[in-house]
């Protein structure tokens, strides 16, 4: 019986869930569990927290499904719920000033900056994915304030467009672009030591 629900689109499944069809809800979870889990893990960088976020997200979906406007895209709504779960615990924006300073272009006429740029050229990324690098990557992304991290994850890792990211986070497209630029430069700067070691 569940198999027959496979072919239903999200709108049909959601209409069934609204009528109390538990199997339709199970089908919706099956369809989106990897999306929610992957996104939650990329945001939390921690299995326990990702699990918590996974649970909270689908429980929220179940509780609030009546509020979902079927004219919207379900995945956009879902991403918004996961992001809100993550942002609920947002930390103080102690790095805000530093991130804003990243809007200025680096002085690429400067010899030190030129040396820094050149050294990345020789780093084969395939051989760099070791434990030390993963730890550094976790530490770097965790230093980003959540409202920046979520933009980086949506745009670069989930490959959402700037427009969809803006819709998910209820931001303007220029705000998405600005946060993405700062996040990328910040992460690049944080990984620099390893890429040149």
């Amino acid at each position: 019986m569940t198999a027959s629900l496979d072919s239903h689109n999200d709108t049909t499944l959601i209409a069934r869930i609204k009528k109390g069809d538990e199997r339709a809800f199970a089908q919706l979870v099956k369809r989106y569990e990897q999306t929610v889990w992957g996104f939650a893990f990329k945001l939390c960088r921690n299995k326990e927290k990702a699990e918590e976020s996974f649970q909270d997200t689908f429980i929220n979906v179940f509780r609030k499904i009546d509020q979902f406007d079927s004219r919207s895209k379900f995945s956009t709504w879902l991403y918004t719920i996961v992001a809100n779960n993550c942002l609920m615990n947002r930390r103080k924006r102690k790095l805000e000033g530093l991130l804003e300073s990243l809007d200025e272009a680096p002085d690429i006429e400067n010899e030190d900056v030129q040396r820094q740029l050149a050294t990345w050229d020789d780093s084969p990324v395939e051989v760099m994915m070791n434990k030390e690098l993963r730890e550094q990557m976790d530490a770097a992304i965790q230093e980003l304030p959540d409202e920046y991290k979520v933009v980086f994850v949506l745009r670069d890792l989930e490959e959402k467009t700037a427009e969809e990211t803006a819709k998910i986070l209820k931001l303007s497209v220029p705000a998405v672009k600005s946060r993405l630029r700062r996040s990328r430069i910040f992460l690049r700067h944080k990984l620099h030591g390893l890429m040149t070691a």
């Binding site: 538990e22 809800f25 199970a26 979870v29 569990e33 990897q34 889990w37 992957g38 893990f41 990329k42 299995k47 699990e51 996974f54 649970q55 689908f58 429980i59 179940f62 509780r63 272009a105 680096p106 690429i108 900056v113 030129q114 740029l117 050149a118 990345w120 050229d121 780093s123 990324v125 760099m128 994915m129 690098l133 993963r134 990557m137 992304i141 980086f152 670069d156 890792l157 700037a162 672009k177 993405l180 630029r181 990328r184 430069i185 992460l187 690049r188 990984l191 620099h192 890429m195």
Partner: protein
């Protein structure tokens, strides 16, 4: 519309690295064919430093993309449906 080689050369000189930096991060692999995109690409092609910066940004993103995510634990799914079951019981009107 194709640009002549001479025009591209001119753009390399008319666009500053700072201006390129502003747009560099919008879309690292932009395949857009707008006039501004062509100008930025032309600048990067001819500018060693902007090209190195773009490359390092691409590597940063690539590294995060390659980061392996663990599989969803089976117990998470079970736990979820146990909670949903309780939620449903709460929703049901008492007789």
């Amino acid at each position: 519309m194709k640009q002549s080689h001479g025009n591209i050369k001119k753009h390399i000189h008319t666009l500053s690295c700072g201006k390129v930096y502003e747009h560099l991060c919008d879309n690292l692999d932009a395949k857009l064919d707008s006039e501004s995109c062509r100008r930025i690409k032309a600048h990067i092609k001819g500018c060693k430093n902007c090209s190195a910066l773009l490359d390092s940004l691409k590597k940063t993103v690539y590294l995060y993309k390659q980061y392996p995510a663990p599989a969803l634990p089976e117990q998470s799914r079970k736990k979820l449906f146990a909670v949903i079951h309780m939620e449903k019981a709460k929703k049901r009107p008492a007789r």
